[in-house]
Symmetry: C2
Subunit: 278 residues, 2 copies
């Protein structure tokens, strides 16, 4: 999927919502544990209930890996289900990978070829050759960690480089401009650091940003839109727990629908105010 | 496994060799593709041939993930085989994981509970709460990326913090001292940057270092030992391609044995010169 196609979806669905499939075997309704593949059963119901309001889904790999190869099977089935039923939806592997060149190439094959994700989150610590192999796949995306939503972000991401005066996350944004374009590179910028979005937008005006941290982590959607939105929206705002665990009972899919609807409605208003939809 | 037990193994085997199981379906001998689980068949033969000379094995997750859930099955079988046949051997998941706290906790469960790895490599970019969940498991280890062996290491790891004067990898070493101890935290320091090992040792005199980059990537074992060895050896030096792909033919296990023997013999000499073994 390219940037224009993604923006078309956003306008069509009047939404820039990404639903995080942080599907935890310990949190899903108990009756699903009796199905042959509980995580997939859960995801399927969530997708069926929410797909009209989501432009993207983002399975978080840790939740699947915690079940070993069985969890990977649930993940593969989820991606296949999405691709066959809703080929217009953007699928992000929230995997935070990154290794030396030949190894990153294999991770890219895993997510883009063996499975059919559209994007994968990548950690920048190991630099250019750990990121570039992911950028060689046509119409596939790297979503590079820049400023994360967690407390630990303050440990290193704000360290200020003596030479350039850039904070580390700014160096990541600037240096990575040489590796990819707004057509294959997005950035993770946490909603809990919305005050930094203005500065981020000065460095990367045209790139899409994947924004976690709205909802359970406390970030504000209005703030994110105010400082982060660009002329093609440029935002995918993620919500995980607030939607998929809106209820822990058998009505979880219906409650997920309602929770997604509330967010999508707010997004519709923000897109309208920005003049991106009528 | 604790630090003393690891050192005991090093003295007993007269080796600080870690063999990297970068087992690539495209590189293993063709006749193995006819077995029901080619990657496991390959690993089993490598392990059978080399286990007397290796104190650690390090499967690189990308190689397994590139095959999807099937690859994860090969990985699970490899870890089970090692744990049942050679419980004294230290097993490292080279996974370079790291995410917000609740997600890192799930990665830790994946590697330490669902599978039975002794250690997992973790990327430091997201800071304390992305690393700490891994440190809560008794006798399990985090191996934190500090200074990697690849060219991209120069993009960010050497940026000098204006406030402290530390380069980023030094900040990672220093800050993480507050998160764990020499009993549950090691660091990745590439052999291709052996000149930095002296400085690293000043910051972390007692911690084990996992050193990739000897062999195919050009690092020198003598240099690594000269600058990196401490009184409990403190080194696990990894070799992957130089050993497991010493031959691409049906004699691959025999040639792997010989390649491992050469490295182990050099290590024996270095341990003797350091007075750690007789």
């Amino acid at each position: 999927m390219n940037q224009d196609q993604l923006f078309e979806q956003i306008k069509k669905k009047q939404s820039f919502l990404c639903i995080g499939l942080d599907s935890d075997i310990k949190k899903i309704p108990e009756y699903l544990l009796e199905t042959s593949d509980p995580l997939f059963s859960f995801n399927k119901e969530i997708i069926d209930a929410t797909h009209e309001m989501a432009v993207a889904y983002k399975p978080n790999l840790a939740f699947y890996e915690s079940l070993g190869s069985r969890g990977w099977q649930s993940l593969e089935k989820t991606v296949s289900y999405l691709k066959s039923k809703h080929p217009e939806i953007f699928i992000i592997a929230d995997a935070k990978r990154g290794d030396i060149g030949n190894t990153s190439n294999l991770y890219a094959r895993a997510f883009f070829e063996t499975m059919h994700f559209d994007a994968v989150t990548v950690a920048p610590y190991m630099g250019e050759d750990s990121v570039k192999p992911f950028l060689l796949f046509e119409n596939k995306w790297v979503i590079l960690l820049a400023l994360t939503s967690n407390k630990g972000a303050f440990d290193f991401q704000f360290l200020k480089d003596e030479g350039s005066g850039n904070q580390l996350f700014e160096s990541v944004l600037k240096t990575s401009q040489n590796w990819g374009t707004a057509e294959n590179l997005m950035y993770v910028v946490g909603a809990t650091k919305a005050e930094n979005l203005e500065g981020v937008r000065k460095i990367v005006p045209d790139h899409f940003l994947l924004v976690p941290g709205v909802g359970a982590q406390g970030g504000s959607l209005q703030e994110v839109a105010k400082f982060g939105m660009n002329k093609k929206c440029g935002l995918l705002v993620n919500s995980s727990r607030g939607i998929i665990y809106a209820s822990s009972d058998s009505d979880f899919a219906e409650k997920a629908y309602k929770a997604a609807w509330v967010v999508q409605n707010e997004m519709k208003q923000l897109l309208t105010e920005a003049g991106l939809i009528n």
